[in-house]
Symmetry: C2
DNA sequence: GTCGAATGGTTCGTTCCGAACGATTCGAAA
DNA sequence: TTTCGAATCGTTCGGAACGAACCATTCGAC
């Protein structure tokens, strides 16, 4: 219950737990993998370290199975809920950051057409995934979740347009 | 001259040095700040650690001023050049990753309109920057650099559209 | 010539990342 | 009803990435 610095990764965990509690790190991993990592990427191992960090800080309650897998299961504590609510109401004054290995290589002189072929295939696949998710969205899905999905779909379309254009211009 | 693991950050440094050599970490910081960090974000301190890491590995030559600031100035070594060329020719099999605090908060239930106001202002500012950069682009600018800039501009437009739409839908 | 601001440069503690691995559970074939 | 491979579940660990904080040099204005 020492004070820890809360990062965006912390709020990923708190936010997911709020909805899916009680949940194990593995539960979070599965659900994060098709939602939140699309605009806040993190490795699954961080869900393990972050949950125990937050439990130690008193923002999560931890309960551990006595036998078998000895899973640790988490729920939001009152402090955790309060912290999450506080964060949610607070404004955001910074922009996104991107790590795009393909554009990086393009920038440093790699052949656009070669890059484009691979990137187009990958982005198409991703777009298909998103659209499937959207098709399966339940009735009462919160607005924020639906909006975030639209964000991702729009992003994929943008990248697809970009790489397609990059191939075409090749003839100049 | 031990072997180090080369990361994308390493190629950011190698790629920039190739063009601007001889260059100090500070030189890289300035030039990176308005180009490469837009699609491969990194803190400026990493340019210091990465340059010395690469010098130690023999991919950069380091020369240090004897007096005053005692700046370390770097040039590409033959091995560095070879490594960069190898990397440039190698295909990219992965997609971008994003960290967007605003979409994250949106996803977890923050008010879209409130977020949108701030985000629109920030993205407009960024877009203005990009367009200024484009306006000042020299004649013989390599194609990759121009393309990467278009990528960034398109990205900003996408985010602007998204947040504007998010505000409008508010009335539903 | 001095003083504040801008520039230049680095250190350090923490978080993030991901390869690698080990342990349970499940299902199908023997 | 064992057994073996695949899927699931969970964690460790070393190194890269991050960013706050700080100090030093140089510049410009008064």
């Amino acid at each position: 219950m020492s004070t820890v610095r809360l990062t965006n990764a912390s709020y990923v965990v708190l936010g997911l737990i709020e909805v899916f509690q009680p949940a194990t790190a593995y539960d979070l991993k599965r659900v994060a993998g098709q939602s939140v990592v699309n605009f806040w990427s993190l490795p699954h191992t961080q869900l393990y370290s972050e949950t125990s960090r937050l439990a130690e800080a008193g923002l999560l309650n931890e309960e551990r199975e006595e036998s078998g897998r000895r899973r640790r299961s988490y729920t939001l504590s009152e402090e955790g809920q309060a912290e999450l609510d506080r964060w949610r109401a607070e404004p955001v004054k910074s922009l996104f950051e991107v790590h795009d290995p393909a554009t990086l290589k393009l920038f440093f002189g790699a052949d656009p057409a070669t890059l484009a072929a691979d990137q187009i295939a990958l982005h198409e696949e991703k777009l298909r995934e998103y659209e499937e998710t959207r098709a399966n969205l339940a009735e009462g899905t919160p607005r924020g979740i639906a909006l975030a999905l639209e964000m991702g779909i729009g992003l994929e379309r943008h990248f697809l347009d970009f790489w397609r254009a990059a191939t075409e211009q090749q003839r100049t």
